[in-house]
């Protein structure tokens, strides 16, 4: 094949590939990008969602955000939820993945355990919300029944700000752990056994091996799990909302819960859109920050 023909082939290939992007582009542009532009547009108006006309109000919606009732509670709850859920999920799933990975040791079939741990991840936020709402019930819930059986006092799970937030975090971590374990186990299987063998010959203890081989080698899977879990936490709507219903008052509504509140109950589309823009900015900043920090660590350890 001569050079001219090859260059021509390459060019047709690139052209066909460009065409292959078009369907994805059209769908995403029409139904994701345009609404995203619209939400920014609406956030500068006083639209109520019903009347066709809307007035431009500049940054008024944004300026009024801090004056919202319970604004601080909402922000604290949202960030605590995201950070708390990520920390618990990553720790539990990393330790479990390590325990499950010990090749050939133990009696329990690994694939079965992994599949069982994944079941909560298959349930919807709605289902998990309803289930845990029942489980946290003060008089009839199973959580308090178990506490009483082991001799502890019942806890009022869904009626105080701090405890309710913790209750939501536990339920959300319960869902996410299975997914993270699968990714961690995949990462662990990618580490060659030779490295450990060499380290053992050199006299490295188990703990040294964990911190200087396993953790650095797992950096890519840690990055992906941390980022997807935080993003998932900021995005979560049904699960926290259906467990707490915002109780007490509206204080435990997270940012997502507030958006739907202003859109559907209060009829303040403009105001709700300003909140939505803030949510997108928070997620974008947070994931970028995490990516920068974690990628840097990946580079150090290679």
């Amino acid at each position: 094949m001569n050079r001219k023909k090859l260059v021509g082939l390459e060019r047709t290939h690139t052209r066909t590939c460009r065409i292959m992007l078009i369907p994805a582009f059209i769908l995403c542009f029409a139904f994701v990008i345009i609404p995203l532009i619209d939400v920014v547009r609406y956030s500068f108006t006083d639209w109520d969602g019903i009347q066709p006309q809307m007035a431009f109000v500049g940054f008024e919606n944004y300026r009024n955000l801090p004056q919202m009732e319970g604004f601080k509670d909402m922000l604290v709850a949202t960030f605590t939820f995201a950070i708390g859920m990520t920390v618990i999920t990553i720790l539990v799933s990393f330790i479990t993945a390590l325990a499950l990975d010990k090749k050939g040791r133990g009696r329990m079939p690994r694939n079965l355990v992994r599949a069982l741990w994944f079941i909560p991840s298959l349930l919807s936020g709605t289902v998990v919300g309803i289930l845990w709402h029942i489980m946290y019930n003060y008089h009839n819930g199973v959580v308090n029944t178990v506490l009483k059986t082991v001799g502890l006092k019942s806890v009022n799970w869904l009626e105080t700000y701090v405890v309710t937030n913790i209750a939501i975090i536990v339920a959300a971590a319960w869902v996410q752990i299975g997914m993270c374990i699968i990714i961690f186990m995949a990462g662990l299987q990618g580490i060659s056994a030779d490295i450990y063998e060499a380290a053992t010959i050199d006299g490295a203890t188990d703990r040294q091996q964990l911190w200087s081989i396993t953790v650095p080698m797992m950096a890519p899977s840690i990055t992906i799990n941390v980022i997807t879990t935080t993003i998932g936490a900021f995005k979560a709507y049904e699960l926290p909302y259906f467990i707490s219903k915002g109780m007490p008052g509206y204080t435990t509504l997270l940012l997502t819960g507030r958006i739907s509140f202003y859109a559907f109950k209060a009829g303040k589309y403009g105001y709700g859109s300003a909140l939505a823009v803030i949510l997108v900015l928070i997620i974008a900043l947070f994931s970028l920050l995490e990516l920068l920090i974690l990628r840097k660590r990946e580079d150090i350890y290679g």
Binding site: M1, L9, T12, H13, C17, R18, M20, L21, P23, A24, L27, C28, F31, V32, P35, L36, D38, V39, G49, A99, K102, R105, R107, M108, V113, A115, L116, I119, P120, L122, L123, S124, T126, V127, I130, L131, H133, I134, N140, V142, T145, W174, I182, I183, A186, Q189, G190, P220, F234, K235, Y237, F242, I259, S260, A263, S273, A276, V280, A284, S287
Partner: protein
């Protein structure tokens, strides 16, 4: 090989802790599973027991009737299957192009796709409803499918691109030398290799579509086009008293995804390994 048979106290303790952990994680599922076959009073008094005297079956037929199960199942299945087909076709083609062509356009497209993945649907809910009303697709199945598909494409493109980048480039070169067109390379050389990543996409996106509440709730009238999650919340979400009934409804609505997951688990994990960890 010798190590395999060695059972030290440390291993036994580790196994025991793992076993306890697994029981703790599974206990809510167990509680729900047992509860679906009991009366409310038995669920409250004996959460983790199921004796012959407690056993009842009537929660299931009652839940089926209350939440209009068969109609909701049909609509949920239609929305999920059609959206998923669109997502798989569109994203595998785009993923192939990104993984197998050089140029700024493709890396920019990939970057944009990955950035879109972080946007929560709920933040665009208001404009989506306004747009659907403008386009006359509000309260239609196609409207719901369009948004469901579009919002899942970024994740699927990400998975497919990662998977196809990991495939050897010689595959494609050989096919070109044989005189194949680009599309033919995609359809005859790459498509047959995509089973694992398609399983991953089907589970990750499909479970999301099946479990979707907010889009179906806002886009569709729940009497005309009920979906499972909307029906569950409508009947068992607020001030639920019949725990057993709610559990039966939840199990019926979640079982299809669990069965599909078990069937596809082997491929799903292969696809995760290639797509997420290396990509």
């Amino acid at each position: 090989m010798n190590e395999k048979k060695k059972v030290t106290p440390a291993v036994i303790i580790e196994e025991f802790i793992l076993f306890i952990f697994t029981i703790v994680i599974l206990s809510p599922v167990l509680y729900m599973l047992l509860g679906a076959f009991k009366k409310r009073s038995d669920i409250v008094k004996h959460p983790f027991q199921l004796t012959k005297e407690m056993f009842i079956l009537e929660n299931f037929p009652k839940a089926v009737k209350n939440m209009n199960f068969w109609k909701a199942l049909t609509y949920t299945a239609i929305i999920t299957v059609v959206s998923l087909l669109i997502v798989i076709i569109v994203s595998s083609i785009a993923g192939f192009a990104i993984a197998r062509a050089k140029g700024r356009l493709f890396s920019a497209f990939y970057g944009a796709t990955v950035s879109i993945m972080v946007i929560p649907f709920i933040s665009c809910l208001i404009p989506c409803i306004a747009q659907a009303t403008r386009l006359n697709i509000y309260n239609t199945l196609w409207g719901c499918i369009a948004y469901e598909a579009a919002w899942n494409i970024p994740m699927a493109v990400f998975l497919y691109t990662g998977f196809m980048r990991a495939l050897p480039g010689e595959l494609q070169d050989a096919a070109y030398i044989d005189g194949c067109s680009t599309f033919k390379v995609y359809s005859t050389v790459f498509l047959p290799l995509l089973a694992p990543v398609t399983a991953t996409t089907a589970i990750r996106c499909g479970v999301g579509m099946w479990n979707d509440y907010i889009l179906a709730k806002c886009m569709l009238n729940h009497v005309k086009y009920p979906t499972l999650m909307v029906a569950i919340y409508a009947f068992f979400g607020d001030r639920v008293n019949e725990y057993g009934l709610a559990f039966a409804g939840i199990i019926l609505a979640s079982l299809p995804m669990i069965i599909i997951y078990i069937a596809l688990q082997k491929y799903f994990i292969k696809g995760i390994v290639a797509g997420a960890v290396k990509g």
